[in-house]
Subunit: 420 residues, 2 copies
């Protein structure tokens, strides 16, 4: 349990620095060396033993886990070497896994080491591990999703602000969502690597990336987005892999823009958010959404993978060590009267002068502000129905305010519902 685990890091860019920050609270895990391109670059974090030679990391006998967040396929030979040195691997490198995963996984099997890669697909969303574990009982028909945040951001801006593709790409570049050369994102290649990795584990088959049909978003115009809107659709860049017959031996895998029915929840996935859809038996349909890229969502998955390997190699006598429940301390649960909420109130009031004034007076007595008020005509019995939505206030205060209203005998509070 208390053995220190040593990490060798490859890459100290945005994601690498996020990993260093998040790992800092785990006392039993040390980053003992890190390979970078440029030793002198200014960074937000400090790491011991920086080197420009990646082999110093993968050949370091004290390293237990190699964490690769550099990206690109150039790192392949170094990772093969790390595996031969019996190191476990955690990687966020989608291109590497999509192109050379088979070789790496074979080598890992031969050396009884793990390769975990939750961060390679859909950033912070837990999807790789659930497919391999909790959902293992399923036969899947289809996996699909919005797997690239940059293009989803561009399409969202085009829709919301009626701007051209070029203008929105520029915005995305200014915000750091898109790179100077945006090809990898906007032509769909990034999503293509990710759907290859997902298809691989969902259908348990090797995937040839060069056989994936791939079409980006550069030809989508605001006019298409508006026309689609009129017909009840939004336009999203969808990556999908599905069975053609009933077996996973033949698959239809592709990345291209699609019109998505507005009644489908995936049409509501905006900006840089990612979404993954799964459909299978017995589970039916699942959707998971969350941050698909960036320093922190990606670090969540990288560190989650590290913690799993650490728990396994530190607790060899326990099965499923991370599943053991260790919550011995009770939480103090606050009373509903001490909570702060926004409220919807349905009032039934006598149809006479000064009712709105009475409501206003009662509210101000307890410091309650209204964000909406809606009088809905008069009822058969001559009373008026008034709907009120408050800003945030203490439950205790709204109840006192309601008591004041009801004591007037002019107003009855028919329903109180909290606002999320």
């Amino acid at each position: 349990m208390n053995k220190k685990i040593n990490i060798g890091l490859i890459g100290l860019g945005t994601v690498g620095q996020g990993v260093v920050k998040v790992l800092s609270k785990f006392d039993n895990i040390d980053i003992i060396t890190c390979a970078v391109k440029n030793l002198n670059k200014k960074r937000q974090v400090e790491v011991k033993n920086l080197t420009t030679d990646v082999y110093e990391v993968v050949n370091n006998p004290d390293v237990d886990i190699v964490v690769e967040v550099a990206g690109g396929v150039g790192v392949k030979d170094a990772l093969m070497c790390a595996i031969k040195n019996k190191k476990h691997i955690v990687t966020a490198n989608k291109e590497l896994l999509a192109r050379y995963g088979a070789e790496l996984f074979d080598e890992a099997r031969n050396n009884s080491t793990s390769i975990l890669y939750e961060a390679a697909v859909a950033g912070g969303i837990p999807i790789v591990q659930p497919i391999k574990t909790s959902l293992k009982a399923n036969d899947f028909d289809c996996v699909a999703g919005i797997l690239n945040g940059t293009t989803n951001y561009i399409l969202t801006k085009m829709e919301e602000e009626n701007l051209s593709y070029e203008e929105c790409l520029k915005k995305a570049q200014e915000l750091g969502y898109a790179e100077t050369d945006p090809t990898n994102d906007v032509e769909g290649y990034d999503a293509m690597y990710k759907i290859a990795i997902l298809a691989n584990i969902v259908f348990n088959r090797r995937i040839d990336v060069s056989n994936i049909y791939c079409e980006g978003i550069t030809k989508i115009s605001p006019f298409d987005i508006k026309s689609a809107d009129e017909l009840g659709y939004k336009i999203k860049l969808i990556a999908q892999a599905k069975k053609v017959d009933k077996t996973p031996d033949t698959l239809d895998i592709r990345v291209h823009p699609m019109l998505v029915d507005k009644n489908q929840a995936i049409s509501e996935i905006r900006n840089a958010t990612n979404a993954v859809l799964l459909s299978g038996f017995p589970v039916g349909k699942l959707m998971s959404t969350g941050g698909g890229a960036g320093e922190f969502p990606t670090s969540s998955s990288v560190v989650g993978d590290i913690l799993q390997i650490v728990s396994e190699i530190s607790n060899k006598d326990t099965i499923l060590p991370m599943q053991v429940c260790h919550h011995d301390k009770f939480a103090y649960q606050i009373d509903i009267n001490k909570t702060t909420n926004s409220y919807y109130l349905r009032l039934e009031a006598k149809n006479k002068l000064g009712i709105i004034g009475q409501i206003g007076l009662a509210c101000s007595k307890y410091g309650i502000n209204l964000s909406s008020i809606l009088q809905k005509g008069t009822n058969e019995n001559g009373s008026a129905t008034i709907i009120v939505v408050t800003e945030m206030c203490l439950e205790d205060n709204i109840n006192k305010m309601i008591q004041v209203l009801e004591e007037s005998n002019d107003i009855k509070v028919v329903n109180k519902i909290r606002v999320m």
Copy 2:
């Protein structure tokens, strides 16, 4: 790897029968005994050694894993006995875990056995295990969700068909979504047990169920739903647990109906679907949705848990055995031209008679039906823009059809986008 694992089942109702069906394809797992209330009830599946004595299951020395899908707190003593007998437990029993989880988990720790319970919260959605593993690096502020399918079904029907609570409850009962005595669902108790379990693992604290504020949906009227709609909200039964300060020592946990902004994706969760929201650092915001109850979604999670215990006790020499990649076979990936899709086409046509006829002719030549056609006035250059959405057809055929249109010199196909 090839050791047979023996299951002792407790409960053979809807979920129990689902588990038997789903487990049937796993040759290395046998259900060797099952405790039921009524030996003679007609069932869709056959199980060896039925007994009405639950202690015959938990004391059976050949049983490796006790799978409890009976429900209710009456089974507690039997499960404590199973744990003392060193059996691993897989359970879907939310009330039991919410009320007596602490005792059960303590006993399991003392006996080095596992209790897995993915199915106890949100049915088929993988959420318990991701919180404990992939998301372990996070500090969470809030967990919330739609955790009861019955009440979400009733609220959806009230909204869509403008029916009273009572009418929709009756519908839900007819469809088997609600029980004859619906108290447990409609008063929010089922959601309360589930949020207690989630708060427990998200905040790593014990939760006292009796301190959870709980309000059901019986007072919601179609009038409230309509008024909320006018203000931009839907009404959902939300269970939530959040930190009050920055520590998990003090929590605000409750279940009650809420107005949810229509721009939030959770407002689109309809019928019996469940949704879980998580918010924390570093991951940010996550949402997972899927089937929350019923024979098959629940079986997905129960069998997923069983497979994890089986893989751990069968592969003691491998770390994270379920994460090992064994996909040696390539998939055959079909060509995009052989796929079937619905298409959005943007056409620019000369403004002359017979254009729509030409389109119709070209479509019928390749057996393509149109589901929408939208002429969008004439352009500055005198041409007309026509938007067409086809029904499903072969990619090969749509391309041939496009070729025919363009050969006429009267029509240009400006864009082709597939429909999801």
